[in-house]
Point group: D2
Chain length 145, copies 4
């Protein structure tokens, strides 16, 4: 997979009284990055939901290393760290635009579920999706050093 | 109707880099006030939606007179200014806790719709709701001077 | 001015239980568009603030004509409708990506203020900014029909 | 310390297309709970900031066990799990109003910093604050079983 890094400007409404991006918004940036990542895998989350599959969040963790400010542009590098049929885990690194600053590192875990929120084993019902996840797990999408 | 004024503290995450509440959040405060107002009328919006009725927003307007800050508590006084079967309009005044400062005055208009977003004439299907709106239209709920 | 239309995908976290974009988020989209518009005028809002000038919102109004959904991309066309030294007004049209649907039309008004929130007459202190606003007022930036 | 549990209704704008509260909002609920907790300790965060002390978030983690929906009221029980002069850690349990459902368990870690974002050892400059944290660390504020 040739990954085009997820790049994103900070909006004014995402800052807070401390003059930096409010910490809750990073969780939203991760979601944006995840959706973009699925898109780049050739999977439209919108279409998935229309076909009856949802991917809720089971857990998130976020380490705030260096505050992001209004005027900044961030780059997020995601990685699928584990996948086994029903669940998967991702990690994320949020960098400055020039990759010299690591602002944040984060993880999230997810479950494939139906509209009733019951787990769905995607191997059978969504074989293409399953293959894509198997092909990408553990892979570094970008070479940063 | 004996109206208990909608009172609400400002959350830190609602502030922005200007050190005041971000202007978009007032629109959310109006929604909170509206839901609370329906509650006080004996109408649970949650139940309404479960019964197939939604009340989307057709328009909003907001005049920002004096910024609200973290640490502040606001009081909102709503009023149903028009109602005719399918649509209604509301106005709101957002005051400081002691009512000495008028921070914001606002309006919103709404339509009763079904799950298909088509207008619903509530007189027939929701007579109780209709009566409540008729009884409250044009009424000042609080005596501020 | 050659205006490049402000284009923007909808984020999942911007939707609500009605399955459409929550109405408060449009106010945020307008801000994004406004900042992008200033950028295109050659004005960095970030730099303006660093130099001591802020542009708070005095009022907003928003007409919700057709709901925007997750998966949609919107295009926003802004216009400076009035400007007189200290204050200015803008209008916005929010279209579908292909400009066949007008989702929303909105307005906002603003004041130039210093860090003490007191009005600033930009003609003297920010002549370049003033000229740019004068040159753009009343101008349709895009030809949509 | 006699702790009054932090109770909070869900706002409509906090839901998403999945018909449940968007996961990013829990991070905001934790902040609300933390500020309320400080208040109950007799510490106004607003005053702290005015005196030059800020308490940014270093990390958060959140486990989503059972979705919260519009119409729900949640109760959050916080706990200071570690404190050593400059940093502290908290844990949180988010329950249903009747404490029969554990919706979420979470943690956060924080640092006391000055307006320059440099760490501040509060023992010397904020002895009262320090004592309060020392007295509360490791303590279960509510007896839930």
């Amino acid at each position: 997979m040739e990954y085009k890094v997820f790049k994103r400007r900070i909006n004014y409404y995402e800052t807070d009284k401390m003059q930096v991006v409010h910490h809750s918004n990073y969780i939203r940036f991760l979601e944006e990055c995840r959706m973009d990542f699925l898109d780049q895998l050739g999977i439209s989350y919108d279409m998935l939901e229309q076909s009856g599959l949802m991917i809720p969040v089971l857990s998130v963790s976020c380490n705030y290393r260096m505050a992001v400010r209004y005027g900044d542009t961030i780059c997020i590098v995601p990685k699928v760290t584990r996948f086994h049929g029903v669940k998967f885990e991702m990690s994320y690194k949020i960098y400055s635009e020039d990759f010299t600053v690591l602002h944040n590192d984060a993880t999230s875990s997810h479950c494939f579920v139906g509209m009733d929120f019951k787990p769905v084993r995607i191997k059978k019902e969504y074989p293409e999706l399953c293959e894509k996840f198997e092909s990408i797990v553990g892979q570094d999408l970008l070479d940063i050093e």
